[in-house]
Symmetry: C2
Subunit: 236 residues, 2 copies
């Protein structure tokens, strides 16, 4: 008798995730039905079902009765909904636009190496941008990713939403992350960017995101001049 393995459904789930990660099943694609998967994997339909259910809960899959099971596809809308937690006074979700953006590559600094699990010597792409909402500047962001993961990112156009771009053009799927929030006073340069007084209270977001395989993808610091907008957290 060997060591106790993972439950069967967890093994099935791992195999299915591997197929998504390898690119065998692409975002938006229809995957085989429960019966065919069960037959191919040599397990029962119920076991496949449990694996698919968990993956659906983790937003890796989308299931539609009568149609089939699809690999979740990142769109600008879905990404804003999932990862941009700002709402206005009436509870309406805020959709920011990009006012200006700049991207450059450079050698990774120690802090960046730490955040992105880089060994040393690797280069990173740094994106700075100003996002607006309702015609006013809303957030100043500095984003850092590994250049090895996203070759050519610094040279191309930077879209308003990054994660769907990462998925479609680089095959990298962001599945989650941590966001650390603090309140800070606007410093001179920041105040100029955001068109507020020096010393105004800003909401600072310090975000680290992770991919399917648990490796860090991105480190981002955002400074937000809220106005009538708030950051919403659902407690549960």
């Amino acid at each position: 008798m060997g060591p106790t393995l993972l439950p069967l459904y967890a093994q099935v789930k791992a195999q299915l995730i591997e197929r998504i990660q390898s690119g065998e099943w692409k975002p938006g694609e229809l995957i085989p039905n429960e019966f065919d998967l069960a037959k191919a994997l040599g397990v029962s339909q119920g076991t496949v079902r449990k694996a698919l259910g968990e993956m659906t809960a983790e937003k890796l899959l989308l299931r539609r009765q009568g149609r089939g099971t699809f690999v979740a596809e990142h769109t600008p809308e879905s990404m804003l909904f999932r990862f941009f937690n700002f709402y206005d006074e009436d509870g309406v979700h805020v959709s920011p636009e990009t006012i200006w953006v700049r991207s450059r590559s450079g050698a990774a600094k120690p802090k960046e190496r730490l955040k992105l699990w880089l060994e040393g010597g690797e280069r990173v792409v740094r994106i700075s941008r100003l996002r607006g909402y309702g015609g006013r500047p809303f957030a100043y962001e500095e984003i850092c990713v590994s250049e090895a993961l996203f070759p050519g990112l610094a040279d191309g156009e930077i879209p308003n939403t990054l994660y769907d771009h990462f998925q479609h053009n680089y095959g990298v799927t962001v599945t989650g992350g941590d966001e650390k929030l603090t309140a800070v006073a606007a410093q001179e340069q920041q105040a100029a960017h955001l068109d507020v007084e020096v010393g105004s209270p800003l909401l600072q977001l310090n975000r680290q995101t992770f991919s399917l395989d648990g490796r860090p993808i991105e480190w981002r610091v955002s400074l937000c001049a809220l106005g009538d907008v708030h950051y919403l957290v659902r407690l549960g």
Copy 2:
């Protein structure tokens, strides 16, 4: 053909929740096993299992292999872990203490009526308190609840954590809520309470919590002087 009812397992779940809400099953108690529940409700064990599974995911139940299924019991520790999202620089969870607290009852104001779904004329209990961490004042809070729901709350001792107190002494279980975050500048009185300069950036939390049946329980506004502490959000 009648209208499509809820799936069986959802009906079972609703009945089980009702039994918890009515106080038939109290927090911490062992409930009957799957077999007995299934027999009593006239459904299969698998259907009961699905209901119990969802309730476990919602933290209403605690299941332990070999022991049984228990009604989730709120403790000061579990409530802080679930509803107090502050961590220090090293990622260690912050446990605040109460520095001082005051509670009084009064007639509900319009805004309070709105937040707590009160019809009019009802009274509320208002709790003001200062919480500290690491020997320094950390958050100034104003909390408002319906006095009808919590009779005598204003007269008794106010514990450091409220939700476990609500569950054990009033049979009211907090299951979730919304928290709206903004950054604000400290005003004079607030600055005095929190021992910071006037105009310092503070994190303001505007929280509304709900009970098992979806009715609002509490409205709370907290002003936090963060120091080296941050508010952590798990994105997913």
